[in-house]
Amino acid sequence: MGEDMVKQDVVIKKKYKKRSQIKSIMFRYKKNKLAMVGFVMFIIMIIIAISADLIVDYEIDAVTQNMKERLQTPNSEHVFGTDEYGRDIFARIIFGARISLFVGLITISLSLTGGAIIGATAGYYGGRIDNVLMRIMDIFLAIPSILLAISIVAALGTGIFNLLLAMSISQVPRFARIVRSSILTVKGQDFIEAAKACGTKDSRIIIKHIIPNAIGPIIVQATLTMASTILTISSLSFVGLGIQSPTPEWGSMLSDGKKQMRYYPHLVIIPGIAIMLAVMSLNLIGDGLRDALDPRLKN
């Protein structure tokens, strides 16, 4: 307590006086240089993914084999070189960004929806429903997510849709937990009791009061989940259970390049760096958001 409290009181008072909550979060986020770097990196990645077709041709450059030009190291015509089938690595990296982003975003949407429904039900109704749902989530959490994803892919067959489903299912418990705990913290508070006392409907309480309070941690988790999804998808593709060649996915590019690694290290170095940068940008955003949402944590 003591002065820290006093100082915080003052800061809080000022915050309400000068700017709204969202503005002050944005202000703190913008001041965080690393977080801004991550944000810019992510925006660039999105632009590349969207405009991939304008830069290179999918069929000609990224997919079609061209044995005459195989295994070139980076040069002026192929900036990142070519792979063992003569495909341009630069083109494949660019289209790989599209796939990673796509998988990441869909996975987040699916797992967030699933997690929100389960977590909200568990947290809001409590009691036995909560117990049963959360025990099931715990069991899912106890299975290493990559194992779960591998089994689901094996059961349903490889393919982008099954992959998305597998990834989403393995991420649901995380979101369910966050949503549930946000609800539990908010639920006990007086303003919810007050709303209930006024006869407010459950659905309205959830939409008006609980979701705005839970949104912060959910966004943070969403960015971090997207990072780990990109990692997992490339891992799955690497062991041959994810996206299959010739579709240009970073993990499968690594898997293809592994055989030639000794003499053509660029085959594995470049896709790896692409994954690293994508994941890092999301991690930076996630960390930056977390610090901006709760400045106390950053110290």
């Binding site: 290493p144 062991v239 000794r262 790896g272 690293m276």
Partner: protein, 310 residues
């Protein structure tokens, strides 16, 4: 205390049942006929039908699950659909490799990650802090299998210092362990740093300062043990991830472990093999978590008295 341990052991059972049921269900959904798999493409439809009946494959899959679990409790994990060898022998032969890998992965990450995290927190905003946070950031963003490939590229292919595949000697475990440790180490650096910073702000640290204690004493006697509590939990949770991560890393280094076994078995629809591997992993993870809980109560008197009561 014994009562608590017993209670916790009992709690593992439903978790294991749950996990095994989920995996069993998923495997049952997998297309393809195990009997056909065992007999090969040239077998007659009659033979396949006969084997299906023998193996009980025509039963409802819930019944099959219970039959399977009954056998498991008797110690019979079945035979592989693939090569008809007893599953238990195969799993048991490979399990030590995965355990050794996971053990070294965890140990290395703790031995390096925790001290760096502490130094980072104590010297907040110093160069050491910035560098270690930067390294942690990079390591969390690197896919483990890629790090493995890069290490192979450097230490095996270019420098020819360490073997890249196999499990024959302790040298074979160096690169995989380092690869596996990297991610957890990064998590531990960040976790230790942030809990340490959190603890340093507590009132009782101020009390210790007000007593006239030196900074070293404050860190080691007052802050460290309190800060390590959440870190230990993370280590426990991470053990599961370690085993999951080991699956991919074993593939990179072509190690005969549970991970490679699981991946190939899943692809080949070898249900008994998958089930046995999953059960082994689940039990190992549960036991490690129990161990973590006990360690926790050893460090935190509040938890200890809670256990003593229950």
């Amino acid at each position: 205390m014994l009562k608590f341990i017993f209670k916790r052991l009992m709690m593992i059972i439903p978790v294991i049942l749950g996990i095994s049921f989920i995996i069993f269900s998923i495997m049952a959904l997998t297309p393809g006929d195990p009997a056909r798999l065992m007999l090969g493409e040239n077998a007659t439809q009659e033979d396949v039908e006969k084997l299906r009946e023998e193996m009980g494959l025509n039963d409802n899959f819930v019944v099959r699950y219970f039959n399977y679990m009954k056998d498991v409790i008797r110690g019979d994990f079945g035979i592989s659909y693939r090569n008809r060898i007893p599953v238990f022998d195969e799993v048991f032969a490979r399990f030590p490799n995965t355990l050794v890998l996971a053990f070294w992965g965890i140990s290395l990450s703790v031995m390096i990650g925790v001290p760096i995290g502490i130094i980072s927190a104590v010297k907040q905003y110093s160069i050491i802090d910035t560098v270690s946070l930067g390294v942690a950031l990079i390591l969390t963003s690197i896919p483990a299998f890629w790090l493995g490939l890069m290490l192979i590229l450097l230490f095996s292919l270019k420098l020819d210092l360490l073997p890249s595949t196999g499990v024959e000697t302790w040298k074979h475990f160096i690169l995989p362990s380092v690869t596996l440790a990297a991610g957890t180490m990064a998590t531990l650096i960040r976790m230790t740093r942030s809990t340490m910073l959190e603890v340093i702000r507590q009132d009782y640290i101020r009390t210790a300062r007000a007593k006239g204690a030196t900074e070293n004493r404050i860190i080691f006697k007052h802050a460290l043990r309190n800060a390590l509590l959440p870190v230990i939990t993370i280590i426990g949770i991470n053990f599961g991830f370690q085993l999951g991560g080991a699956m991919v890393i074993e593939t990179v280094f072509a190690m005969p472990g549970l991970g490679t076994l699981m991946i190939t078995s899943v692809r080949l629809k070898d249900t008994p093999m998958v089930m046995a591997s999953v059960l082994f992993v689940a039990i190992a993870v549960s036991l490690v978590n129990l161990l973590v809980d006990l360690l926790y109560s050893y460090i935190d008197p509040r938890i200890k008295s809670q256990y003593a009561k229950s």
